[in-house]
């Protein structure tokens, strides 16, 4: 009897220890680096950022590194200037890939990624005496897959949620269409299906590997979670190809392509003062 009890305690103790310590070990393995290292590299990058954004953002914008993957993206506006036709190609490829409907009326519009003017994308930056390229350049904007997404907090049904890899995703079957997330998003990244989306699609030419949505739900860019799961890059990044106008990767891996690009270039984020910690960076 006593022996059995001893065995039980042994097993129970080991299980408890594993339960307590296990996640930390796993996280370390997944992130591919010790958290201390990751933090140091990150801090350096942020120091570079502080100068441009206003004081509030520099003070509050410091991100603490969470272990695990965090996917991010760089949009290199210099490259898009070099290859101006690329913007339309990217938008078209994304919208075709995800069966995003096209409605001619602006009020019913649905978009996942689209070009806008510099001053509309970066509303917090000074717009006086802009140089010519800044005026004429268009900026691709999309969901920022924030580390602190306000839309996820706002959603009353968890229909929009943040994955462990940092992607802010949506469950179209759970969304009740209250549009609280649209009010909460500081980037205007979300669209609502005011009409039956299939009316705005050519049903003979849809992507059969991605679902169409239904009327009355919200949708937005999903960082191609369905492609990343298959080991592919997001469609927009794939379309940019060798131009490297868009770079995608794991922000928590100091050896990733995106981290190297962030180290080498001066990048900015949209509305850093909102405290959302966007995962999309821009090289102007």
């Amino acid at each position: 009897m006593d022996k059995k009890r001893r065995d039980f305690l042994k097993v129970a103790g080991a299980t408890t220890l594993a339960g307590l310590g296990g996640p930390a070990i796993v996280e370390r393995l997944v992130s591919g680096s010790s958290p201390v290292q990751a933090k140091a590299a990150h801090g350096e990058r942020l120091a570079g950022h502080g100068a441009d954004t206003h004081a509030g953002a520099a003070g509050h914008g410091e991100e603490t590194v969470k272990s695990g993957n965090r996917f991010g993206m760089i949009v290199d506006l210099r490259k898009f200037k070099q290859y101006p036709e690329l913007i339309e190609k990217v938008v078209h490829a994304c919208h075709a890939e995800h069966n995003v409907p096209h409605f001619p009326t602006r009020k019913d519009e649905i978009k996942w990624i689209w070009p806008t003017e510099y001053e509309k994308a970066f509303t917090e930056h000074s717009q006086y005496y802009k140089d010519k390229p800044t005026i004429s350049n268009e900026v691709l904007v999309l969901c920022n897959h924030c580390d602190e997404p306000p839309c996820v907090k706002a959603c009353p049904t968890r229909a929009t949620f943040k994955n462990k890899d940092g992607i802010v995703a949506m469950d179209y079957h759970r969304c009740i269409g209250c549009r609280f997330c649209m009010a909460a998003c500081p980037y205007g990244a979300r669209s609502f299906n005011w009409l039956d989306p299939r009316v705005g699609l050519d049903m003979n030419h849809i992507n059969r590997y991605f679902p169409t949505r239904m009327r009355g739900v919200v949708e937005k860019c999903n960082f191609c979670a369905e492609r990343i799961g298959l080991g592919k890059k997001p469609k927009c990044v794939e379309v940019c190809g060798e131009t490297r106008a868009m770079i995608f990767g794991n922000l928590n891996d100091p050896n990733s392509e995106i981290r190297k690009a962030l180290k080498e270039n001066y990048t900015i984020q949209r509305k850093p003062s909102a405290g959302t910690h966007p995962s999309v960076f821009y090289i102007v």
Partner: protein, 390 residues
């Protein structure tokens, strides 16, 4: 007690039929919207909440306003409110029914609305709003009905009901606080991102709710032989006056912060609402008349409620003053606050919102439904009152 609602003169039935017509039209319009989608409204990607949510926001205030009668009567034992407290409780019931209807018609997928319970997200302010709105509705139905039943039997109300009466007071405050938190917790919407939104909502609620009660009490005096008492109405008018002044004081503070700090984000919506905003050579100002209507009616209402002659000597002017305050704050909160907050959009664009006829008729129908329920509830309450007197 319900049988009292089934007996009435011709005016009573004509009034109900009038409201019923609007409810019928709204039902038809809602079926259209349900089958076609919210594309039938004027809402857009940039202005993603419209008339429905703005009416909801205002009516939460009307519901909360009833507490201004409940609190003096039950906490301070202010006897003069004995007859009209029930009006406050029943007004809360009908206002909350309107609120909940406005939420439902605004949903893109109303059939899934129970997901708010099945997949509850306690970090979402809508989750708490659902709890406090339904809780407050339940409390008012319970308290109103139990107390009215006791009154009819001419016995004191059971002791246990006082627990719920007292509970309803913090609930009244909470419904409007949580509703304010739907807005003031959102980053990137400068106009809403203000700590004074909740106090401002409460102040305007404590003016608009009681103001409506005064107007209705004056009408009931004429048509239903129900006298709330001069002293009671005078006291309610005082509450309306002070709450109205506090509300506009808060609006003034928003102006100070925006224009003195000169921070563009804080100024833009106020400029858009009151003066119009110029953007890329185009002047956007479709809400300006509403906001100046708010200011003018506020001044008129405050004047009528503060000048002794209009306030005390004449029922008509007292009613007009309260009606002016009610409409004024409807323009402020039921139109300006919600719609203005979407301008400019996060991408610095301006989209103006114009509700469609279908949308307006649905909104009208929900208001009619609220007044339909209110009429029936008041008919029952006054019927009981007359029965005791007889």
């Amino acid at each position: 007690m319900f049988e009292k609602a089934l007996k009435g003169n011709n005016y009573y039935w004509i009034w109900l039929a009038f409201l019923g017509t609007f409810m019928g039209i709204a039902a038809f319009c809602y079926v259209r919207q349900f089958n076609y989608g919210l594309g039938l409204t004027g809402m857009s990607r940039d202005v993603s909440w419209g008339l429905y949510i703005s009416q909801f926001t205002f009516l939460v205030g009307v519901a909360a306003g009833g507490v201004m009668l409940v609190l003096p009567y039950y906490i301070h034992n202010y006897k003069a409110f004995g007859k009209i407290t029930i009006l406050g409780e029943f007004l809360a019931i009908s206002a909350l029914l309107m609120c909940l209807s406005f939420i439902v018609v605004d949903l893109g997928q109303p059939m899934r609305m129970l997901n708010v319970i099945f997949h509850a997200q306690p970090r979402s302010m809508l989750f708490y709003d659902m709890i406090v709105l339904n809780g407050y509705l339940f409390l008012n139905i319970l308290c109103g009905w139990v107390i009215l039943t006791a009154e009819r039997k001419q016995v004191p109300p059971p002791k246990w009901i006082y627990f719920f009466v007292y509970l309803s007071i913090p609930f009244a405050v909470s419904i409007h606080t949580v509703t304010a938190m739907l807005y003031c917790g959102l980053p990137g919407r400068h106009f809403w991102l203000s700590a004074i939104v909740a106090p401002r909502f409460l102040a305007s609620a404590f003016a608009a709710g009681p103001a409506l009660i005064v107007v209705v009490a004056l009408i009931l005096k004429r048509v239903a032989d129900f006298d709330a008492g001069k002293q009671a109405l005078d006291k309610v008018a005082t509450i309306v006056l002070y709450a109205a002044l506090v509300n506009v004081f808060f609006v003034g503070l928003e102006f100070f912060v925006g224009f003195y700090s000169n921070i563009p984000g804080h100024k833009h919506t106020l400029q858009y609402l009151f003066f119009g905003l110029e953007h890329h050579g185009h002047m956007y100002n479709n809400l300006v008349p509403f906001m100046w209507g708010f200011v003018v009616l506020f001044v008129v209402g405050v004047a009528l409620l503060s000048i002794p002659y209009t306030r005390k000597q004449n029922d008509f002017w007292l009613g007009a003053g309260c009606a002016a305050i009610f409409i004024s704050f409807w323009l402020d909160k039921g139109i300006g606050f919600v719609l203005g907050g979407f301008v400019p959009s996060p991408l610095d664009e301006i989209t103006e919102y114009y509700p469609t006829a279908n949308e307006i008729f649905i909104a009208l129908g929900i208001w009619a439904m609220g007044f339909f329920v209110l009429t029936i509830l008041y008919k029952i309450a006054i019927g009981v009152e007359h029965e005791i007197e007889a």
